[in-house]
Structure formats: structure tokens, C-alpha cells
């Protein structure tokens, strides 16, 4: 990008010799210039980051304003009073607190099931030998290219037959068995050296013990990445809950926000407080996982999801 000036002038390719014969003074000058460039670059990048955060900052500021002062010309950072009570009111308005509890429950159970099912099938693909293993694995992978939209219509009809419309199990089960989780964990399990399990095998441990006491502890980072992204996708899911839930008691956070947004005479400050609350768990998870983010994404290829 624009951030770096060339630290090496185009001298003939004499390598170290050329560098060594460069007068000391100009090398120091170049160092200063390069330092200045990186400071400028850092400041510009910070400004871009700040600009990028404006919507989030504006959400927080608006969440603290009195109702009548959300829209003002010129815009003001703070209203005539700072109303933290908006958060309490948002929590109780529509039962937004209830939506949070619902979503925590659905995402928690869903993530748990996903982890168990994926760890088991991932282990089978990585460590066991069975018939049609290769073909089955390719079949698993091929389900990944089918868009969710193809699935939701028959799924809705099935849920209707089962009487599961407006139920937690309808929110949880359809998305708990993904080929993606299996694939991710299989990839990671394959990188674990087999020698580690040999001792356990000699001690007469079965596959369940090996998976539980040898593989899973080592694969904790991969499991954490899978857990976080599964949780987030449950937490943020919108199309399926919109289809399957219309009872306020069973609504998830995104549906609640949409309900808020669609109401006549919107209370924008409450909506922004609710939006803030809805972001808290997701931001906490990302901060907790910060160390693994780049590696986890490279490992799993979650990009574009």
C-alpha cells in the first residue's frame, strides 16, 4: 500500500557489498524517513479504523439519549441527559430479556450437539478404517455447496407435520449436524501424531477413551474455534427463525430486533440499546478468541460465510 517507501534504492544487484559501501549518513536519513512513513501510516490506519467504528459508536451514543433527542440537526454526541435506564427499559420492552435467554439456550445446546457429533464423526474419518470411507467423505463435502435456501422449504413442511413450528428443537436440530464441523475436526485430528495414542492403546483404552482423553485435549483450539463459530451462527441466524417462529415467547434476538424495528412509532433509543445488548456476547467471544482468529480462519476456511 501507500504505507512504505522503498527502503532500498534501485542499486545494481551487488547485494551486501552495495549496502556496505553506502555512506553512513544517507542510511541514517533513510531510516528516519522510513520511521516517519510508518508513523504517518499508523495514524492514517487509526483514522480509518475510527471511521469504520462510527456506526457502532453512534449506536452506543444513541442508546443513551432521551427519546426526543435521537434525531437532531446538528447531530449531538450526547443528549440533555445520559440515560442508562434505556438499557433496563429495552430489556423489559417486548420481552427482550426473554429473547436473550431463548437465544442463549438455543445456541448453547446447538453448539454442544454440534461439537459432540462433529468430534465423533471427525474421529471416525481421521482414525478408523471402514467401508466406503472415502466416498462417504466426498459426499459429506458435497453437502457444503448446497445453499440453505434449498433446504428451508421442505424443512418447514416437515416441522409442520411434526408439530414443531414455534419450538426450540426446530431452532436447534436442523443446523446441529453440519459436514463443516466434521471436516474441520477431521483436518485437525489428522495433524495429531498417532504415537500419542499408542500408549493408550497398549493400556487397553477403547476408541471412546482415546477420543476423550487423548484427542480432545490436544484438539482444544480447533474445538474452541468450531464452538465459537457455531455459537455465533446460531446467535445471528435470521432466515430460519423468521420462518419457523412467530410466537413472541420463542423468538430469538435477531427476530426481536426485527420486531422492534418494524413497530409503529419506533423507540430508536431502545432499539439501539437492544442492539448493543445483542452484540455483547459476540464481541466477548471474538475478544476471547482473538489469539486464534487468524489461525482458526486459515485452518477452517470460514471466509465468506
Amino acid at each position: 500500500m501507500t504505507s512504505e517507501t522503498p527502503t532500498f534504492t534501485p542499486t545494481p544487484a551487488l547485494g551486501a557489498a552495495a549496502v556496505a559501501t553506502t555512506p553512513h549518513r544517507s542510511s541514517a536519513a533513510r531510516k528516519v524517513r522510513s520511521r516517519v512513513t510508518s508513523v504517518v501510516s499508523q495514524i492514517l490506519l487509526s483514522l480509518v479504523a475510527l471511521l469504520f467504528l462510527v456506526p457502532i459508536i453512534w449506536m452506543l451514543l444513541s442508546a443513551l439519549k432521551p427519546s426526543a433527542e435521537v434525531f437532531t440537526v446538528p447531530p449531538k454526541l450526547f443528549g440533555s441527559e445520559v440515560k442508562f435506564s434505556n438499557f433496563v427499559e429495552a430489556w423489559n420492552y417486548l420481552p427482550f430479556g426473554r429473547f436473550i435467554v431463548n437465544t442463549l439456550f438455543v445456541a448453547g445446546i446447538g453448539t454442544f450437539i454440534t461439537l459432540i457429533a462433529s468430534a465423533m464423526s471427525g474421529y471416525a474419518f481421521a482414525r478408523l478404517n471402514f467401508k466406503f470411507q472415502g466416498g462417504l467423505f466426498v459426499l459429506y463435502l458435497s453437502t457444503l455447496i448446497v445453499p440453505q435456501e434449498v433446504i428451508v422449504i421442505p424443512m418447514f413442511l416437515v416441522m409442520q407435520r411434526l408439530g414443531w413450528v414455534n419450538s426450540y428443537q426446530a431452532l436447534i436440530l436442523p443446523w446441529a449436524f453440519t459436514a463443516f464441523g466434521t471436516f474441520l475436526l477431521r483436518q485437525f485430528f489428522l495433524t495429531i501424531p498417532r504415537e500419542l495414542e499408542e500408549a493408550a492403546k497398549i493400556d487397553g483404552c477403547g476408541h471412546i477413551r482415546i477420543l476423550r482423553s487423548v484427542i480432545i485435549p490436544i484438539a482444544a483450539p480447533a474445538l474452541a474455534v468450531l464452538a465459537v463459530f457455531t455459537f455465533l451462527s446460531y446467535w445471528n441466524s435470521f432466515l430460519w427463525p423468521l420462518i419457523i417462529i412467530n410466537d413472541t415467547d420463542k423468538m430469538t434476538v435477531p427476530l426481536g430486533l426485527e420486531l422492534f424495528l418494524g413497530q409503529q412509532g419506533q423507540r430508536w433509543e431502545l432499539l439501539m440499546a437492544a442492539a448493543t445488548i445483542s452484540m455483547v456476547p459476540t464481541v466477548i467471544l471474538v475478544l476471547a478468541l482473538q489469539k486464534y482468529l487468524v489461525r482458526g480462519i486459515a485452518l477452517s476456511g470460514l471466509g465468506g460465510r
Binding site: 456506526p55 434525531f71 453440519t178 432466515l239 476456511g301
Partner: protein, 311 residues
């Protein structure tokens, strides 16, 4: 997706191992595979087949369904609204995907460039809207873009003119949806590119520098070719997901004004769950699937021209 070729060979290797070794762990494997396989059968494989079949029926939610062959697909081909939905989707994809790739790659390079400190912090900041609920993100944009909202208010204060009513204007609604999608969407790709850039061996760029290559030349001649597998991977996945755009358009503009932001999935939702035409909606889903499939296949064919896998 770039992992696929390596993966298939790995799967093949496991298969040969199975043939070579003892008969296998059939019993244990059945137990370990059961939950995931039953789940996938019930909630993925069965619905895929069912959806294909439903697409050939007139299938209301209540009442009897009748086989009508390709009539749903014929209706779609002649429906003006569906044409608009396809057109809107392509406009979205053509605006969103290039912007997403350029911005995410640009920022990944910038953050990774020499002399920048606190890289993790910047990466986290740009990644945050990628994980916060799309509906919450859309609610914020809805507040900012509405009349007397932040942008309008700033324009009145600074320039004395009113901003267009972004969400109520046929011209501005789609750009607003794209803007929201970019803001929240490029974080994943930025991290993918960051990982790829971290993996470029510094010995290569240093050697080029000693040979007199400037920063720009080093980027385009060495770094960029080395990360083409990641770019390919990001483009494929971003294209797939952008054809499925729904929440941003549905929440921000409700597909409107008129049908200015009615994308294919918004259309599918309306037909399926507002008019309860399940057969027609299934047909929409399959048209979408086929478009995605064809474009993805073409990308895999075309990749040989620009993606460098040799290290």
C-alpha cells in the same frame, strides 16, 4: 475450497490404508458416525431431494398438492418480478464482491505492512461487525441513513442541503444495502488474507529487495502471486454467499422501495412464506443453486490461468 484437491487425495490414502490394513473398525465406525450421519440424512440429504420434488408440484401449505411438471420453472422464466429479482441479485454481487475483495486485501496488506504496531487490535476492530447480528447492524444503518439521521443531519449542518432519503429511494436503496454488506462483510476475507500474507516467506521479498525491486513491484510480482490460492478461495466463497443475500435487504429496506432491493432469496421468502407457494419457492431455490453451481464450476475451470499453487 483450495484444500479440496489435497483432501481428496488424503481421503484416498485413508481408503488404501483401509484396504491394506485389517478389515476395519466397522462396528466402532458405525457408532461414531451414527449421530452425524442420521442428522445429515434427516436435515440435509432428505430436504435436498424433497425440495427438488416439491419444485415440480403446486404445493400450498394447506390443501392438496398437484403435480405440474416444469410449470413452476416456466412461470419463473416469464415472471417480470423474478427477472427483477435476478437482476437485483446480480447488481448486488457485481458491486459487493469486487469491493469486498479489494478492501479486505488492501487492509490486510496495510495492517501487515512494516512498522505497523498493534496488528491484532486493528484486525479485531475490522472483524467485529462480521460477528455481530446482521439485524443489529442493519438497525444501526437504518438509524444512520434515515431522514434527520446522522448522515442527513451532518449534510444539513455542513453543506446546508438535505441528503437523499437513502432507504426510500429506488436509486439509493441498493447502494445502501451494498454499503451495509461491505461494512459487515469484509472482516472474514481480511483475516483470510492476513493469514496468507503472514505465510509469505520474508526471504523471498528480502531477496527481491536486494535485487532492487521496489515495494510496489515486490507486492505485484512476488506477494500477490503467492497468495492467489487464498484470493481464489475468498472469491469463490464470497460469490457463493453474496448470491444468497437476504437479511441485509430484508431488514434494511424490506426488498423495497417497490422491488428495488428484492433479491432472489427475498423473492423466495415472499413466495414461500408470505404467499405460501412452496412449489414455486422451491423452484426459485433450485434456480439459485444452479446459478451458484455454474459460476463456481467456471471459477474452478478458470483458476488455472491465474492461481499459482506451486510454492
Amino acid at each position: 475450497m483450495t484444500v479440496l484437491p489435497a483432501d481428496v487425495t488424503a481421503a484416498a490414502a485413508t481408503a488404501t490404508q483401509a484396504r491394506r490394513g485389517r478389515r476395519g473398525d466397522g462396528k466402532a465406525a458405525t457408532g461414531f458416525m451414527a449421530p452425524s450421519m442420521l442428522g445429515l440424512l434427516a436435515f440435509t440429504a432428505f430436504p435436498i431431494v424433497a425440495s427438488l420434488i416439491i419444485g415440480f408440484y403446486n404445493w400450498p401449505v394447506i390443501g392438496s398438492h398437484t403435480f405440474i411438471g416444469l410449470k413452476n420453472y416456466e412461470n419463473l422464466l416469464t415472471s417480470k418480478e423474478f427477472h427483477t429479482a435476478i437482476l437485483n441479485t446480480f447488481v448486488f454481487v457485481l458491486l459487493y464482491v469486487p469491493l469486498n475483495i479489494v478492501i479486505s486485501l488492501g487492509l490486510a496488506v496495510w495492517i501487515g505492512s512494516k512498522g505497523i504496531r498493534l496488528r491484532g487490535l486493528y484486525r479485531t476492530i475490522f472483524f467485529i461487525p462480521a460477528v455481530t447480528p446482521v439485524v443489529a447492524n442493519a438497525a444501526i444503518f437504518s438509524l444512520i441513513l434515515s431522514p434527520n439521521g446522522l448522515i442527513d443531519s451532518l449534510m444539513q449542518t455542513w453543506f446546508g442541503v438535505q441528503a437523499p432519503n437513502f432507504l426510500g429511494s429506488k436509486t439509493w436503496a441498493m447502494p445502501a444495502v451494498v454499503m451495509l454488506s461491505i461494512w459487515q462483510g469484509f472482516g472474514y476475507n481480511m483475516l483470510v488474507f492476513s493469514a496468507a500474507l503472514d505465510a509469505v516467506p520474508t526471504s523471498l521479498t528480502e531477496a527481491a529487495a536486494i535485487d532492487g525491486a521496489g515495494t510496489v513491484a515486490r507486492f505485484f510480482r512476488i506477494v500477490l502471486p503467492l497468495i492467489t490460492p487464498s484470493i481464489f478461495f475468498a472469491v469463490v466463497l464470497t460469490l457463493i454467499s453474496s448470491f444468497q443475500v437476504f437479511t441485509q435487504a430484508y431488514v434494511l429496506t424490506g426488498g423495497g422501495p417497490g422491488n428495488a432491493t428484492t433479491t432472489m432469496v427475498v423473492y423466495l421468502y415472499e413466495q414461500g412464506f408470505q404467499f405460501y407457494k412452496m412449489g414455486l419457492a422451491s423452484a426459485v431455490a433450485w434456480v439459485l443453486f444452479i446459478i451458484i453451481l455454474v459460476i463456481t464450476v467456471f471459477q474452478f475451470i478458470g483458476q488455472k490461468r491465474w492461481v499459482h499453487y506451486d510454492q
